[in-house]
């Protein structure tokens, strides 16, 4: 069996890793691994999410990270110092409380924290900047070694990864996938997996399948390195600002993204101004730190906020995209689902491409 995977982000590589022992797998990457959102995100991971399906995948993914980094012998720098969601108003805090009950019922370790507990938890935190929050399982992973590790593991298992190789055509005959054309060459395949992230809509069109995922652009910046003083990953759900400290001491943060019509990754001064105001409101002592570098990333989300994973009405054309801002959080488990779809013909109603 031959499988062609388009995209070498967390989903494509995790799928390849799980398929490698059962099939001949080639991964096609238009640029280089890390070019897309798997290389541009801030590495926050947690099962403190808002739906049963996402929580399950997130819990499973943390276990997979724990075992895969040993299997591929690559340190993912996964630091489980917790995840803190804070809210600036009662309405947002009520939303977090609803999620909290769902998370508790599914065995996620999480508890409510008042502004003064947060101040004790995060040095320099301004308790007056928030109404309250929830603290629970999770932390920060470094996305780059995750991708390198999966890449290494895939290659050791015989997967071929082709960077700078653009897919120009998905070959479909009689409603069935026959292969694809990339850099002018034809590759025969029984399955073609669309794991192209923000570019998944375009790839889907090549197979004649409508996808219509939402495309979201998000900006991030890095502040200079300091001795570690922020343990948890912090997300303010009211104004979208998030930040954490990397293993190298840099404060990495951004603001949750907005829908755009096309994937593009230009940076803006407006983002830096907004980020400076919101981050300093939350932790005033950050104000003396300098921005060293900023960038943007694009990702795609299923219309209902859930991933799109499953076979389409074109036999052998598999969607594996739409993970939204949860790519690093649920990617490893999502890759396992892709393998189940291909090897066992499984369908997942909540993720099915046919659900829209």
């Amino acid at each position: 069996m031959k499988i062609a995977i388009i995209g070498s982000g967390i989903v494509g590589l995790s799928a390849a890793y799980n398929l490698a022992n059962s099939a001949e797998v080639i991964v096609f990457e238009r640029r280089y691994p890390l070019y897309g959102s798997s290389g541009r995100n801030s590495g926050g991971i947690t099962p403190m999410l808002g739906s049963k399906e996402l929580i399950e995948l997130a819990k499973k993914s943390i276990r997979i990270y724990d075992s895969v980094q040993g299997e591929v012998n690559f340190n993912f720098l996964l630091r489980k110092d917790g995840y803190l969601k804070v809210a600036k108003n009662d309405a947002d805090l009520d939303e977090l409380e609803k999620e909290y009950h769902l998370q508790k019922s599914m065995g996620v370790k999480v508890r409510e924290v008042d502004p003064y507990e947060i101040k004790n938890m995060v040095q320099g935190f301004n308790p007056k900047s928030v109404e309250g929050g929830f603290f629970g399982e999770g932390g920060v992973i470094f996305p780059w070694p995750v991708i390198w590790g999966y890449e290494k593991g895939c290659k050791e298992r015989g997967v071929e990864i082709k960077p700078m190789t653009q897919v120009s055509e998905v070959v479909v005959e009689g409603g069935e996938v026959k292969g694809l054309k990339a850099n002018g060459e034809f590759y025969k395949a029984d399955f073609v997996v669309n794991a192209a992230g923000a570019w998944s809509n375009e790839i889907s069109k090549l197979a004649g399948v409508e996808l219509n995922n939402t495309i979201i652009k998000e900006e991030i910046c890095v502040l200079e390195s300091l001795k570690p003083f922020i343990d948890p990953y912090i997300l303010n759900v009211s104004n979208g600002v998030y930040l954490s400290q990397s293993a190298r001491g840099e404060v990495v943060g951004g603001i949750l993204g907005k829908e755009v019509s096309n994937p593009e990754t230009s940076s803006s001064l407006d983002f830096l101004i907004k980020y400076a105001k919101r981050a300093v409101e939350m932790i005033p002592s950050l104000k003396g730190l300098s921005v060293l570098r900023q960038w943007a990333g694009v990702y795609d989300s299923g219309k209902d906020g859930l991933p799109v994973i499953g076979e389409t009405n074109v036999k052998g054309f598999i969607q594996a995209n739409g993970l939204g801002k949860y790519g690093m959080t649920i990617g490893p488990a999502a890759g396992e689902l892709v393998a189940e779809v291909i090897l066992k013909g499984k369908t997942y109603d909540k993720f099915s491409p046919e659900r829209f």
Partner: protein, 91 residues
């Protein structure tokens, strides 16, 4: 003995030997080499090290400097503190 320790990136404390090791590991294009070693991502943002990295990469791979290209240059040009950015007007 430190005679073989040629520092090429002062922010991230990288030696020429470490850059060569990364290239030999397969991180042999400029964007991958940057990410794998951390070169050009420190306080200088590449102003002190990028030319060294380019030279080593050209010597090791036999490619010309033009073929290799440079890393995506990201703003700001020099570090800017948050208290200055805060004074800006939001769109």
């Amino acid at each position: 003995m430190v005679k073989d320790r040629k520092i090429v990136c002062r922010c991230e404390d990288l030696t020429e030997e470490e850059i060569i090791h990364a290239i030999e590991e397969g991180y042999d294009d400029i964007e991958s080499l940057k990410r794998y070693t951390g070169a050009t991502t420190g306080f200088c943002q590449g102003k002190g090290c990028l030319m060294h990295i380019l030279r080593i990469l050209a010597q090791k791979t036999g490619k010309s400097v033009d073929e290799i290209g440079i890393t995506t240059q990201r703003p700001p040009v020099n570090p800017v503190p948050l208290y200055i950015l805060m004074e800006g007007e939001e769109e």
